[in-house]
């Protein structure tokens, strides 16, 4: 069988190296690599038994799995083991989409373009690696590998306060990663798992007593939660997002936050189900806190980019809520919501970046009536905002609907808390649209222009997928269910 996943890793790795060395033509190399990667993702879908109509519920169940020895010592075995199931496959699709959209959007990057495109590919390589790694150390390696390119992206291409933001991002997430690693290692050494492979860890985790599982789960939850980000460990996010260049924000919100959700589901919820069950009240509390706090803060923002950043905390809070529900439907909603948020927040960050380019400001109050000047930007802003507030036929709707339905099943009337907050946030997005794009023109600089073709292309790709999967969410649902989610929590 073709070692497709290794081939994809090799594509991105070689592509990154060539891009770094490519000088002026780096953007063409990056685009070529992204396109090749997208084709390979397509092949992966074809090679995947879950596409379409795959029903066998294997536990842990990985298609396309490859394994080679890496470091074998007397007291631990580390393997290079990679594979995908439905959850990873959907997030890999997200990686491919955002990669190509980011490369297109930043087509005219003039500040050290070779390094820029190389770091974008490297970030995507790290995220792809996290989604396919089935060995603790391999997983940790890719997890950390994401940090370094993002540190440089924020710190070199970012806004005025970029150095502080880059350092804060690095320190926060690195400390969390170390806690996560300790949790995973404690899991291995206390359960006596034979190796660091996912299947061994999975079996060993299930065998642990529930209370031990609960403590380990909390360590992992902290490690993954900072990436989410959960309140009160979210303060790195607004700084990082606001200071990051637009492409960096897209990757941060679209992919890096998803690593936290993916890690929590794959390495904590599936591996330590009894501990997850005991810790559920804590998860609910943190989820409600994140939802409420994220939306309160987003209501207070005047800066378009900060608004999107804080609403990310809010949306990821809903992801956590759906995970905490702990049912098959809840986890399905969480994965779907992560995919939707990846696409939509990427789109909105691009909109705020383009607004900044053309208006010279992202301040919502100081620009108005932009539609006649920038019709295309208005269209993208409209679609992004409507998707974000959950309009049917756009991608967030099925995801949020499933999440709220699952919450209703578990918590009953508590569902009105997130629902009410969603309504308020929706109103705020509409108000933003009204002030910036409609009404009498105000504060538009004379040289304002509509989005250039490459920015339009980047946003167009995201809009296409927003609509496609909004109308046909079943395509994603089929894939996601080809995973342990289908029978979770099992018997």
């Amino acid at each position: 069988m073709l070692p497709l996943i290794s081939l994809m890793l090799a594509t991105l790795l070689a592509g990154t190296v060539v891009t770094f060395l490519a000088g002026r033509s780096a953007r063409w190399v990056a685009l070529g690599v992204s396109a090749l990667f997208a084709v390979e993702v397509g092949l992966l879908f074809l090679a995947f038994p879950g596409w379409p109509g795959y029903s066998s519920a294997l536990v842990p169940g990985f298609a396309e799995s490859e394994s080679y020895a890496w470091v074998h010592l007397s007291w631990f075995n580390v393997n290079y083991t990679v594979g995908v199931d439905g959850i990873s496959l959907v997030l890999i699709l997200l990686t491919a989409i955002l990669q190509i959209a980011t490369v297109l959007y930043s087509w005219n990057e003039t500040k050290r373009p070779a390094a820029w495109f190389g770091l974008v590919l490297l970030t995507c390589l790290g995220c792809f690696g996290v989604f396919v790694a089935l060995d603790i150390l391999l997983f940790f390696l890719f997890w950390e590998a994401v940090l370094i390119p993002m540190f440089f992206i924020i710190g070199y291409w970012g806004g005025p306060n970029r150095r502080y933001a880059a350092l804060k991002f690095f320190v926060y997430t690195h400390v969390a990663s170390i806690v996560m690693l300790v949790g995973l290692l404690a899991l291995v050494f206390y359960s006596g798992a034979a190796s660091f492979d996912y299947s061994a860890v999975y079996a060993a985790g299930h065998a642990l007593p529930a209370v031990t599982q609960a403590f380990l789960f909390l360590a992992l939850f902290f490690g993954f939660g900072v990436k989410f980000p959960i309140v009160p460990f979210h303060t790195w996010l607004p700084d990082a997002h606001v200071e990051a260049p637009t492409g960096g924000s897209v990757l941060l919100a679209g992919l890096l936050l998803k690593l936290g959700g993916y890690g929590l589901i794959r390495w904590a919820v599936f591996v330590l189900p009894a501990g997850f069950h005991l810790d559920t009240p804590i998860l609910f509390f943190i989820a409600f806190l994140s939802i409420a706090w994220g939306s309160i803060l987003s209501l207070a923002q005047r800066d378009l980019k900060r608004l999107v950043a804080y609403s990310s905390i809010n949306h990821m809070g809903i992801v956590l809520l759906a995970i905490a529900v702990g049912s098959s439907l809840g986890l399905l909603a969480a994965v779907l919501l992560m995919f939707a948020h990846g696409i939509v927040s990427g789109l909105l960050f691009m909109v705020s970046g383009s607004a900044h380019h053309t208006f010279g400001t992202r301040d919502i109050a100081s620009v108005g009536g932009a539609t006649p000047t920038t019709p295309a930007l208005t269209t993208f802003a409209m679609i992004g905002s409507l998707a974000s507030l959950g309009l049917p036929a756009l991608i967030s709707f099925p995801a949020e609907f499933a999440a709220l339905l699952a919450t209703w099943d578990r918590l009953g009337y508590w569902v009105f808390l997130p629902l009410g907050i969603l309504v308020v946030t929706a109103a705020f997005y509409l108000w933003m649209l009204q002030r910036m794009f409609f009404g009498p023109p105000r504060g538009i600089p004379p040289d304002a222009h509509d989005v250039p073709w490459y920015e339009g292309a980047g946003m167009g790709i995201l809009v296409a997928f927003t609509v496609l999967f909004g109308i046909l969410p079943g395509l994603l649902v089929t894939v996601i269910l080809a995973s342990p989610i289908q029978s979770f929590p099992g018997t």
Partner: protein, 523 residues
């Protein structure tokens, strides 16, 4: 007359001795070109490396082995010296350090005085390091440490002009003399307690010695060796010496000679600690009857390890000068290495050994980069390095790799060394788990000051007044004032950091089997 069976095993040491004598002889004959004495030194070290590697049985060159396989890891009291595979691994590590520093030092302005002295002392100190790695007797060990120490006192002051170097050398010498005195006093007490100075014999006698003498003897030995290993609270000299010494000498001190103390720790303390594990005795140090000194030693070493890594890290956070920051970081890394001997299992020894090797590459390499940057006329403060990464990408990327390795970021050798070390502590269970936790917290803390340097190097814009044009003396060298040797040494260190980081199995496998033999057969 000429007993080849006796001389053969010492061929690497003899090669180094010959190189030392050749360099000094040429100096007397007034042949002082740096290329000549440098080449003799570097080639001598390289030959010794190949010979030791052959003794360890690396397949393509195993035919060159001069030590009969039956003499390696033979076990049992053997007299003054014994060949252990872990000792040979340490010899390779020491020779790597000497090779990197020697190679870099060939690229000096050729008019500089004292080149023959530098290379002669370098090979002589390396010879002493090789002797430490084969010691199996307390007196032999301490004498070998002196063979390392005396040349390094001179190395710190070899330029004979810089007042800071002279002050550093003086401080180094006084502290070194004190440390030697303490160690020998401890050894004399142990001799009084056991009636022998053979380390294997002492380990075998275990609780037979006089308790008070044994405890006092080990206490003085810990203090004496802790000075050499820069453990807190015996560390204060190290920062001033590393700071005041010429940069290449700092690289050799921090990356090379300091490491002998860790092998000395292995030799001296593993025996009593393992004897305890075998008998599982209670802690009754001052009572009559059966007692075990091992748990007391383990607790003392554990406390030293935690204090050393924490104090080193916190002080490193506060430094404004690059060399002082690296010196304090070096102290904190010594704390990690001490975890290995405290836990005293084969995995832990393997972890400590890999950590020593990693530190040679990372810290030695970092000081070599500092030397290169100082050669470009950049000041000593961290803030003087603004924009260096973008203006001199080779130095910037290499230094970044070394710092990332020190911080323990994956895909560097520093990650694996910490991982093996901490996981071995967790695997040993008991209170050792807390050693791993302390180590991890410290690693997290250390990320702060390493990341800060990355920020300064890559994100900050350089002062317009700062120039990166090398002074006239070094401008003639290749690579914009670096010279081939220094560029090659830095590139080699960086490549090994990443190469072993990506595929550590060959190195780790060799170290692991050596550590297993060492725990089974002892020094």
């Amino acid at each position: 007359m000429f007993d080849t069976a006796f001389v053969g095993p010492f061929l690497p040491e003899i090669v180094l001795l010959a190189a030392t004598l050749a360099v000094f002889l040429l100096d007397v004959l007034e042949v002082r070109r740096i290329e000549i004495s440098g080449a003799i030194g570097v080639v001598g070290v390289a030959i010794a490396f190949v010979l030791v590697a052959a003794d360890l049985g690396f397949s393509p060159i195993a035919g060159l082995a001069t030590i009969p396989a039956s003499q390696i890891d033979a076990g049992g009291p053997t007299g003054l010296y014994a060949f252990t595979s872990l000792g040979l691994v340490f010899q390779l590590i020491f020779l790597t350090a000497a090779f990197l520093v020697g190679l870099a030092s060939v690229s000096r302005p050729s008019g500089e005085k004292g080149a023959p002295i530098f290379f002669g002392l370098l090979t002589l100190a390396t010879l002493g390091m090789l002797l430490v790695a084969i010691a199996s007797d307390l007196i032999f060990l301490l004498l070998a440490i002196e063979v390392v120490s005396i040349p390094t006192y001179l190395l710190v002051a070899y330029t004979r002009k810089d007042e800071r170097s002279l002050e550093a050398a003086m401080k180094f010498y006084i502290v070194g003399a004190l440390s030697t005195t303490l160690s020998f006093f401890g050894a004399s007490l142990l001799f009084g307690a056991y009636g022998t100075t053979n380390l294997t014999a002492i380990a075998g006698l275990g609780s037979a010695g006089v308790p008070t003498l044994v405890l006092l003897g080990y206490a003085f030995l810990i203090a004496g060796l802790a000075f050499k290993a820069t453990l807190v609270p015996f560390h204060a000299w190290a920062v001033d010496v590393y700071d005041g010494a010429p940069n290449d000498v700092s690289a050799f001190l921090a990356g090379g000679t300091k490491k002998i103390a860790f092998f000395a720790f292995f030799l001296v303390f593993l025996g009593p600690i393992l004897a305890v594990k075998a008998t599982g005795g209670a802690i009754l140090p001052f009572g009559g009857g059966p007692y075990n000194v091992g748990p007391v030693l383990q607790i003392a070493l554990a406390v030293l390890a935690v204090v050393t890594m924490t104090v080193g890290n916190v002080l490193a956070l506060l430094q404004k000068e690059m060399k002082r920051m690296l010196a304090y970081s070096s102290i904190s890394q010594a704390g990690y290495m001490l975890i290995g001997i405290t836990v005293a299992t084969a995995p832990a020894l393997a972890g400590a050994t890999l950590q020593v090797f990693a530190h040679v590459l990372m810290k030695g390499g970092a000081f070599l980069v500092v030397a290169a940057v100082a050669g470009l006329g950049v000041g000593p403060l961290i803030s003087d390095w603004k924009g260096l990464g973008t203006r001199r990408p080779f130095l910037g990327v290499a230094f970044a790799l070394m710092l990332l390795g020190l911080a323990g970021v994956p895909l560097t050798i520093g990650f694996w060394s910490k991982f093996v070390l901490f996981s071995s502590a967790v695997e040993a269970q008991g209170y050792f788990v807390w050693l791993a936790v302390a180590g991890l917290l410290n690693s997290a803390l250390s990320v702060f000051y390493y990341a800060r340097v990355l920020k300064v190097m890559f994100f900050d814009t350089p002062d317009p007044s700062a120039s990166l044009s090398p002074p006239a003396a070094t401008a003639s060298l290749a690579f914009g004032g670096l010279g081939y040797g220094r560029a090659a040494a830095i590139a080699l260190a960086a490549a090994l950091i990443v190469g072993i980081g990506v595929y550590p199995q060959p190195v780790l496998g060799a170290i692991q089997s050596a550590a297993q033999h060492f725990v089974l057969t002892g020094p």
